[in-house]
């Protein structure tokens, strides 16, 4: 084949893909209006192995769901942390600072943190803190939009910023939460 025909043929590949993408869009629009293109019904199909055409979505107007195991930044579950320091020890870039709470009268250490800082500008999202926490107190959240104009101190998250209720964990990690509850229940039974 002549070289120019090859060029034409390769243009054809691109044009074919272009048309394919819009045909797929049209198919979903016809099913129920413009918003159907990236609806929860359409996304699992359009992002799957069966997808035709491009699978780009118009972020931030449209978003893809994050899988349950997604590792964003760590958060603390209310009332679980005992300030044992395991997370601070395994943290590869050493971005966790913990101060153990002490009883002001006796000076004995209490089983909770007085302050807890994570510098998320250093955090490398490896998830070791969540993986090795012996009390299931620290988990990897799904928060990804943390841009800030100020920088610096905005990225130094303190105890208040980090703490979330247990229901938040149950909501973003349904399978893992159910698993944990099952394990706890079976442990109680043994006792």
């Amino acid at each position: 084949m002549h070289a120019s025909l090859h060029v034409l043929k390769s243009f054809g590949v691109t044009v074919g893909r272009f048309i394919e993408s819009y045909v797929d869009d049209l198919k979903w629009i016809l099913k129920g209006g413009f918003h159907m293109r990236y609806s929860p019904a359409a996304l699992p199909v359009r992002q799957s192995v069966k997808a035709r055409g491009v699978f780009v979505v118009q972020y931030p107007q449209e978003r893809l769901p994050l899988p349950e195991r997604f590792r964003g930044f760590p958060f603390l579950i209310e009332g679980r942390c005992t300030a044992c320091g395991t997370c601070a020890r395994v943290c590869p870039p050493q971005c966790i600072w913990i101060k153990r709470a002490e009883d002001p009268e006796t000076g004995k250490s209490l089983r909770r943190p007085e302050s807890f800082f994570i510098d998320v500008s250093i955090c490398m999202n490896c998830g070791f803190c969540a993986e090795f926490c012996p009390f299931d107190a620290i988990k990897m959240g799904h928060e990804i939009e943390i841009a800030s104009f100020k920088g610096g101190d905005d990225f130094l998250w303190d105890l208040q910023r980090l703490t979330r209720p247990l229901s938040y964990h149950a909501q973003i990690h349904p399978t893992a939460y159910a698993e944990e509850e099952r394990e706890k229940a079976s442990k109680k039974k043994e006792e």
Partner: protein, 584 residues
């Protein structure tokens, strides 16, 4: 061809030939200790008579205190390989105050960059090296960072975890402790204003070897062109100093180190397990195989048994990584040829689905941090297995057919790649090339076959090799390996057993017995090796990465000479480098 003899026999033979110069290294070290003054003779005998033609890794270790019955010393550590089987480790000792070792570069060109690296980071001088300059750091850098007594400006403590973090942690930023302006230290008597980069002196200064030959009276014949570090087709921040005669390339000198972060030093500060997420950042396209190489090396020291299911998951993940790497490598090669972004975007689209699999399994798309010592971090979910099956049986073969249809027999593609950047087999071995670059030169050497790790000895697959040694042959090797990866994946998914994914409980404070290990795997780009020395402590004593991109890059000059500028780009693409791995 030398016959394959056992290591004990080898030691006996060497002892007989070089009395007093060769001895077995005392446990827990492995291999031999060779006297520095006889190193060249021993290396030549190893290469020419005993079949150790391939020098894989060169590095140094600093022992400032007397250990192991030996005094304070620097050790250069070499790893030689032959056609199959494990490494021959050669230790060469040298004085701690004035470390000098004869260079192996004249015998093994593959030592060139690695000896420069050892000089740069460790300060071991290699006598007889043709060009012993710093390679990763610049000339205004004070000291040799991998020496045990070297401290960075931000220095906090020798080993992590830092005491300041717990139990009374108060956050302080490194930038607050060391403000801008104080975070730099020059060597004594060195001033930045008088500095002229050595690379530039080489590039623009008088250079008889190149300029003299052509026309001694008109050195202006020669032109030096700077490609990069900000050039779209150098695949990152790579700078190439290209000496041109007209448009013909006379010499190419890669200048690297723009992404250098002293990965080795960070690794020696970290506890053992904390290095896994750091290895993700080496070759950021293939984080799964980087993880695997590191855990394979540590498991050699630990001696743990990996459960069946975990082994299968490891193979599945690494083969998907290989497929993905080759797909985007071919895509970017198209990009560099002027198939502007079509090929690479199609490849990235398939990669998207593989990344979905990685994300739902490990929690991250690119920085997977997935392998652990003795297993993997999470089990592969049910949906993941289904997705993997669909990918392997439906989607990926369809893409491969397209790739073959549009590229393999494409007239333009072939005209640009056939006969370009030829690397003969003997040169490829001498330069220590691995991966598709070596197999594209007609050497069917694949670590999955030559020294099987994990469970690769159970799968039926072919080692793809083409004898031409040009860019097109490398493309065909990659394409063939993609088919082989799918073949392995189909077998692994069919045989995937049920069972545990970790050997025992997950632990972060593992105890690694004292010793040394060199673990290597066939990463998509070539041999990725980790040389580890443990002193039994919570941190590695020495942590060295032998990266395929760095070693393969040495062949640039060999392959580009006599070609045109436009061919450099495509030759570079055919080596397939990632700068995160070159610069470490």
């Amino acid at each position: 061809m030398a016959e394959i003899i056992s290591e004990n026999e080898l030691l006996a033979q060497l002892k007989e030939r070089f009395p007093g110069a060769v001895e077995a290294a005392p446990a827990p070290q492995q291999g031999l200790i060779v006297a520095a003054d006889r190193l060249l003779e021993v290396a030549q005998a190893l290469r020419d008579e005993m079949g150790y033609t391939y020098l894989s890794s060169v590095t140094g270790v600093d022992y400032p205190q007397a250990t192991n019955g030996l005094g304070p010393r620097f050790e250069a550590v070499y790893h030689f390989f032959r056609r199959s089987g494990g490494p021959l480790t050669v230790h060469v000792h040298t004085d701690h105050d004035n470390p000098v070792i004869p260079s192996l570069t004249p015998l093994f060109p593959s030592a060139n960059f690695q000896e420069r690296e050892a000089w740069d980071l460790m300060g071991i001088r290699f006598e007889g090296h043709p060009d012993l300059r710093r390679i990763l750091l610049w000339e205004g850098f004070d000291g040799h960072p991998l020496r045990k007594d070297w401290k960075e400006v931000y220095y906090e403590q020798d080993q992590k975890p830092f005491d300041s973090r717990y139990p009374a942690g108060k956050p302080v930023r490194a930038e607050e402790r060391v403000p801008l302006g104080n975070n730099l230290r020059y060597p004594p008597g060195w001033s930045p204003s008088d500095w002229r980069p050595l690379a530039d002196v080489w590039g623009y200064g008088p250079h008889d070897e190149v300029a003299g030959q052509k026309n001694p009276r008109h050195p202006a014949d020669r032109m030096v062109l700077n490609m990069g570090p900000h050039h779209p087709s150098t695949h990152g921040v790579l700078r190439l100093l290209v000496t041109l005669d007209g448009e013909t390339i006379q010499k190419i000198e890669p200048s690297v180190g723009f992404l250098h972060r002293c990965h080795d030093k960070i690794g020696e500060r970290n506890i053992w397990i904390a290095n896994i997420p750091y290895t993700d950042r080496l070759d950021y396209i293939c984080s799964m195989t980087n993880n695997l190489a590191y855990v394979v090396a540590v498991e050699k020291l630990l001696g743990v048994q990996v459960p069946e299911r975990a082994e299968y998951i490891r193979v599945i993940m690494s083969e998907f990584t290989r497929w993905m790497n080759h797909a985007i490598s071919i895509g970017f090669m198209g990009n560099d040829l002027g198939i502007y972004f079509t090929a690479v975007l199609y490849a990235l689209e398939e990669r998207e689905l593989i990344l979905d699999l990685f994300e739902m399994t490990s929690g991250s798309r690119m920085m997977c941090n997935y392998m652990r010592f003795g297993g993997v971090a999470h089990d592969i979910p049910e949906a993941g297995v289904t997705l993997a099956r669909q990918l392997v049986t439906e989607r990926l073969p369809r893409f491969m057919d397209k790739l073959e249809k549009y590229l393999t027999h494409n007239e333009i593609f072939r005209a640009r790649t056939e006969g370009v950047g030829v690397l003969p087999a003997d040169k490829a071995i001498a330069y220590g090339c691995t991966g598709p670059l070596l197999r594209g030169s007609g050497v069917p050497y694949d670590i999955r076959r030559a020294e099987p790790y994990s469970i690769y000895d159970r799968f039926d697959f072919d080692v793809i090799s083409y004898p031409e040694g040009d860019v097109y042959a490398r493309y065909k090797v990659r394409l063939g390996e993609m088919y082989e990866s799918l073949k392995i994946l189909r077998q692994a998914l069919d045989q995937l057993p049920e069972g545990p994914i970790m050997d025992g409980k997950k632990r972060h404070n593992i105890k690694v017995p004292a010793g040394e290990a060199y673990g290597r795997i066939e990463a998509p780009k070539g041999e990725l090796g980790f040389y580890l020395v443990s002193d039994g402590g919570p941190n590695p004593y020495r942590y060295h990465v032998r990266s395929p991109s760095f070693v393969n890059l040495q062949t640039m000059n060999e392959m580009c000479r006599g070609h045109l500028i436009a061919d450099t780009v495509i030759i570079l693409a055919s080596i397939d480098i990632t700068l995160g791995e070159v610069d470490r």
